[in-house]
């Protein structure tokens, strides 16, 4: 378009300029939490706006001048529209919400609710695989649920909203799902088997519940393209589920613009016969051997630092002793991280036990004592996600700190694993870089001795 103005030279220069800027300029992270208090109440669309929209929807495709017959039609339609508008105004004045209903997608239509072999779909509390008590403590008691009859084949058609609600209620807090079809169980993170779904669906992971957010239909197979969204956010690079392989194993599939994910990626879904990696009596999963190129990350924590009496200066000296890994998470992209470390972390499915919290705020390290925390599943997923789920190093504000996690196994100092936390109501809220502010991983600080 601009060539006629200036020839290609300026065009080229402008393209070059913005290309350079685009690849280097990083937007500051704006979190929901940071603006939440200013968001205030929603405004309701004015009656006038609705009326205009109504007219727009009627005349949107018309262009003046119009024919006489069109004028007649317009006149008639305007008359109807005026009547409707008056009705809206009158009825709106009496309603609680000002007569303005939340916008609803007018395209929503009832969808068939075909499910794979519903008669064989049952929900049972698994006795075959012991439930890791730590996980049970998080997800709550396993619940025995009855498969909704309304979702079974032959049931009357439901609207998409109804289908979603039913599936959501069905999946939420469910610990074990069995069916003759694929049972997607989350085995890769050390859980006994956390069910996900037995059908094609888009799933959303809020906290420890899986929520179905968008099935429009439930074909029996192939099982594919279920998108898992971490912590409420569609993180870039979060894998899509590939169709199951012959052995029933389901794995994530990289998005087209994302680097390939290995088979050890925590986002691995297996069918129901997957072997639990941990149970209450099992030994913690040993950490895999570090690749040689990440040897600098293996370091013992001196005892004098872990006895709770270490000075701030001692910790600062330790942490600044050339062992910090240069990690720069910016705008969802992981930069300057040793890829071998990423691979290494990708093999850690679960870290349990005592984790020492070290908070550094205002440029100072504060020894916060020992806090029992389970780092599992999506923590490691966050670390291993590479571009999609890294933790961010950030000082986010007055009540924001960099949180450093040191796993119980002191062979490994995950100094690269930092992420911002914000304090809200006395709780530390972690913030995944991809969430734009989240409340997903909550660390209860039970002891804060030593904090100035």
């Amino acid at each position: 378009m601009t060539d006629h103005v200036n020839g290609g030279r300026l065009d080229d220069a402008l393209n070059q300029l913005f290309d350079r800027l685009e690849s280097n300029v990083v937007a500051p992270r704006l979190t929901y939490l940071s603006i939440r208090d200013r968001m205030g109440e929603q405004e309701r669309p004015s009656v006038r706006a609705q009326f205009v929209e109504l007219l727009g929807s009627v005349f949107g495709k018309w262009r003046f001048p119009v024919t006489k017959s069109q004028i007649g039609t317009i006149t008639a339609v305007v008359s109807i529209a005026v009547v409707v508008a008056v009705y809206v105004m009158v009825s709106g004045s009496d309603s609680d919400d000002g007569g303005v209903a939340p916008a609803v997608d007018p395209t929503t239509t009832p969808v068939p609710t075909t499910v794979p072999d519903p008669t064989a779909t049952t929900i049972v509390k698994s006795t075959a695989i012991p439930i890791d008590p730590e996980i049970a403590a998080i997800v709550g008691e396993a619940k025995l649920k009855t498969f909704p009859a309304a979702l079974k084949e032959g049931a009357p058609e439901l609207s998409e909203e109804e289908v979603i609600d039913l599936w959501t209620g069905f999946i939420a807090d469910t610990y074990w799902v069995e069916s003759t079809d694929y049972v997607l169980s989350f085995c890769g993170a050390g859980y006994g088997s956390t069910p996900i779904a037995t059908f094609k669906a888009e799933l959303e992971h809020f906290g420890w519940n899986w929520e179905v957010i968008g099935p429009t239909k439930f074909p029996a197979r192939p099982w594919n393209s279920a998108r898992v969204i971490l912590d409420g956010i569609e993180a870039p690079g979060v894998g899509e589920l590939a169709p199951p392989s012959e052995d029933g194993r389901l794995s994530t599939e990289s998005l087209p613009d994302q680097p390939s994910r290995g088979p050890n990626n925590p986002l691995v879904f297996e069918n129901s016969d997957c072997v639990p990696e941990t149970n209450a009596s099992a030994e913690p999963t040993p950490l895999p051997a570090l690749p040689e190129s990440s040897g600098q990350n293996v370091r013992e924590i001196p005892e004098d630092l872990t006895n709770g009496a270490a000075s701030t200066d001692a910790w600062r000296a330790y942490l600044s002793d050339g062992h910090m890994i240069a990690v720069d998470f910016a705008d969802g992209e992981l930069k300057e991280i040793d890829p071998s470390l990423t691979r290494y972390l990708s093999q850690i499915h679960k870290l349990t036990g005592t984790v020492d919290l070290l908070l550094c705020g205002d440029g100072r390290f504060h020894w916060m004592g020992t806090v029992p925390v389970v780092i599992a599943d999506y923590s490691t997923r966050g670390w291993t996600g590479g571009q999609d789920g890294g933790w961010e190093i950030s000082q986010t504000g007055e009540n924001s700190f960099n949180l450093q996690l040191i796993p119980d196994d002191s062979r490994v100092i995950l100094e690269s694993v930092k992420f911002p936390v914000e304090i809200e109501n006395g709780r530390f809220l972690s913030t995944l870089i991809n969430t734009g502010g989240g409340t997903d991983l909550i660390f209860e600080v039970r002891e804060a001795s030593g904090c100035p």
């Binding site: 378009m1 300026l10 070059q16 300029l17 200013r38 968001m39 916008a103 997608d105 409420g232 502010g437």
Partner: protein, 192 residues
């Protein structure tokens, strides 16, 4: 994008927390557009925050199925123009804000631009804001004229004329700025 549609729907029903999805998906793009338009990082950040706050308040007016990116952009553009009129916000030296470098520095994160591109950046900053906006959209995001019109809410003819004026101005000054550099190089060559 189903996630976005769902988030919008929930936001329209008053689910404030769901708005973080909208923020996450659009923050970066809006910030960059604001930054390239204002050349003022602080104002850009403020503009984006204000855009999201306004968007939240008005989200019930958003028509599902429409392009929320364009809708947010329009809020942003209106804000930027309003602020410019109200405060006559001066563009800041963007070079400093984003760590521009001529390539000789050692800062890894610096944006390396040669003199020509730096000059162009300054020329863009000198454009009236209503001309700067279409230039940024056109070249930073590759928008078509129709997309710019949709995003800004301006008429297509308005977009064309503003972009045309901007490009003429840029071309004129860009050529003028480039000539002395060429002459200087030639003179140095002869001297040696």
């Amino acid at each position: 994008m189903y996630v976005e549609e769902r988030a919008i729907r929930l936001c329209q029903q008053g689910d404030k927390a769901e708005f973080r999805v909208i923020i996450y998906l659009h923050n970066s793009r809006l910030f960059k557009r604001a930054l390239y338009t204002t050349h003022n990082p602080a104002l850009a950040e403020e503009a984006v925050q204000e855009t999201f706050i306004r968007a939240w308040k008005r989200i019930r007016s958003f028509k599902p199925g429409s392009n929320i990116g364009a809708w947010l952009s329009r809020i942003l553009v209106n804000y930027l123009i309003d602020e410019h009129r109200k405060r006559r916000v001066e563009t800041a030296p963007l070079e400093a804000a984003i760590g521009l470098s001529d390539g000789s520095g050692s800062t890894e994160s610096a944006v390396i631009l040669d003199d020509k591109l730096k000059q162009l950046l300054r020329l863009i900053a000198e454009l009236p804001i209503d001309q700067r906006i279409p230039v940024v959209m056109r070249y930073s995001e590759g928008f078509s004229l129709a997309q710019i019109a949709e995003t800004t809410g301006w008429k297509l003819g308005t977009v064309k004329s503003r972009l045309n004026r901007a490009m003429k101005q840029l071309n004129k000054q860009f050529q003028a700025a480039s000539e002395p550099i060429a002459s200087s190089k030639q003179w140095v060559g002869r001297k040696s």
